[in-house]
Subunit: 314 residues, 2 copies
């Protein structure tokens, strides 16, 4: 693989975690691994492969350790694992994780629903996690309800900043991902929050956006963050996803939609769009999957039309 000479963005494929977690029928472990291998083969490099949480809370992700073990053997993939506390973080590292994603919410009610603690307790837990795992483990912080909460509505920019004032000093080098948990963020809000964060916390090495497309604003929000300098974006193949604790918030922004937009803008993603669409089609067809995005259908129709045209000429 050659290093792209065009300016580039980094796509973090979160389908195997956020896309799967709300799906009830268990996706066999082999199939999960096969999807990861296929995603890698189309050029995806960074993948959130699961979540180390209680089997009762998210039965779909109960095989995350096995998936992680398999990923460690796949060349050129950078797997990351979501963890809610120190104990799970240590388990993940022992299983081979080299990037951990620690999640907490700005809003108290969502944090209680998601990880059964107050945000303050989660901040303390993050501090304990940082002390417990070796410093070479890369750390990402997923800040849920950074824009809006399913229970409390719009989250003020000041509230998110106040939370970051406590979190950032604990490890300034951590990547920070602001999550639009409900999909209700608008691009103006995204612009304001990122512009405030980036100027307030200049030492943060990398900012990311986790966008949902529930109300069709996924790519608008991605573009707004891009304009502020953000270059790392979460996305889910086939637009699979949603938060089980955020009613109606189905649909991460689709990886194929975000790839097509950035490639069209002249930004390299390293991902082969047409090959990705084939994987996305199979992902969207998973029993119980809540799929989204627009590029999958449009590109599939185009490919079928070209195939019909070629066969009629043959």
């Amino acid at each position: 693989m050659t290093i792209p000479s065009r300016p580039s963005v980094e796509i973090v494929e979160v389908g195997p975690r956020d896309g799967y977690q709300g799906i009830t029928p268990f996706i066999p472990t082999d199939l999960k691994i096969s999807f990861i291998e296929r995603l890698v083969s189309v050029g995806v490099r960074r993948i959130e492969i699961g979540s180390c949480v209680s089997e009762k809370a998210l039965p779909q992700l109960r095989d995350t350790h096995e998936v992680l073990t398999a990923c460690v053997r796949i060349p050129s993939v950078a797997p990351q694992v979501l963890v809610p506390n120190q104990r799970r973080g240590e388990q993940a590292v022992n299983a081979g994780a080299r990037t951990l994603v620690f999640v907490l919410s700005v809003s108290e009610s969502h944090n209680r629903a998601n990880v059964q603690t107050t945000p303050e307790q989660s901040v303390d837990e993050y501090a304990r996690l940082l002390k417990a795992v070796p410093s070479e483990i890369a750390m990402r912080l997923d800040l849920a309800t950074a824009f809006d909460c399913p229970y409390e509505g719009r989250v003020q920019v000041a509230a998110t900043i106040a939370m970051l004032e406590r979190l950032v000093p604990l490890r300034p080098g951590a990547e920070i991902c602001l999550c639009d948990t409900t999909g209700r963020a608008d691009p103006k809000h995204v612009e304001r929050l990122f512009s405030t964060c980036i100027s307030r916390f200049p030492n943060v090495s990398r900012w990311a956006l986790h966008a949902h497309d529930t109300y069709g604003r996924g790519l608008a929000n991605v573009y707004a963050a891009y304009k502020q300098g953000v270059r790392t974006f979460d996305a889910s193949f086939g637009g699979l996803g949603g938060c089980p604790f955020a009613p109606g918030a189905t649909g991460n922004v689709a990886t194929e939609d975000i790839v097509y937009m950035f490639e069209r803008m002249g930004m390299a993603t390293g991902i082969d769009l047409e090959a990705l669409v084939a994987v996305a089609r199979d992902g969207a067809a998973l029993p119980g999957g809540l799929a989204g995005g627009r590029v999958r259908a449009a590109v599939t129709a185009k490919v079928q039309m070209q195939a019909r045209s070629a066969s009629s000429k043959a």
Copy 2:
């Protein structure tokens, strides 16, 4: 109705023209008029109610004169009619039209497919139309394939500017709408084209964007245009639409998606979102309709959930 004190955007509802024209089963004239009345009742003010073209080219719109006659009697609606030439423009004015939309394409192959002439001939036709109709008739210019052509691919900014150099001086006061005919425009392209146009043609009173959502970029492109100062946006209720000459380009950006985004951004649209969603639901259910957008499904699910919750409490 009170005049909104918040900053505002203007939504041009084009469903009754662009949304309907690709639908094969004839939508009865009474139903068309009823949809317009319902759209007006939820706050929509400006509506493209049809197109004066040959019945053979667009049989669905063969009743545009009757629809226009009915619209003239509806209070507080500003109907506009699309016309491809001088003769049709005069017919529309005689039938009561007070705003005409003249359409031509930047790319030759699309202009030939759409109106059977070269772009140069269309420019001359526009000049004839301007001379033929009274000066109090408001004029909008729809510039199709301003970003991308289904036959010729990406349209260079310079090509669109060159076309505008010929068109703008003919009537500097005309509104100009740049149309993303294929939905393949990206927000960076939208930003560049509008920023160039606005600085190059400072006397143009109003710029508009006609966005399609084929690849999920509808709202991203709307936001990019908004950032350049554009405040007038075409949209289609239920996301109905597409160009019969642009294969795969189904789906204008949905009115309900654009309304929700701007309202969330603090911009007034004058439109009642929940009431609009009910109309959009019925529009999307039209036999043969190609619907799109995300807000319709998400808001419908929320309203149903609230209704279930209320009835279980009763």
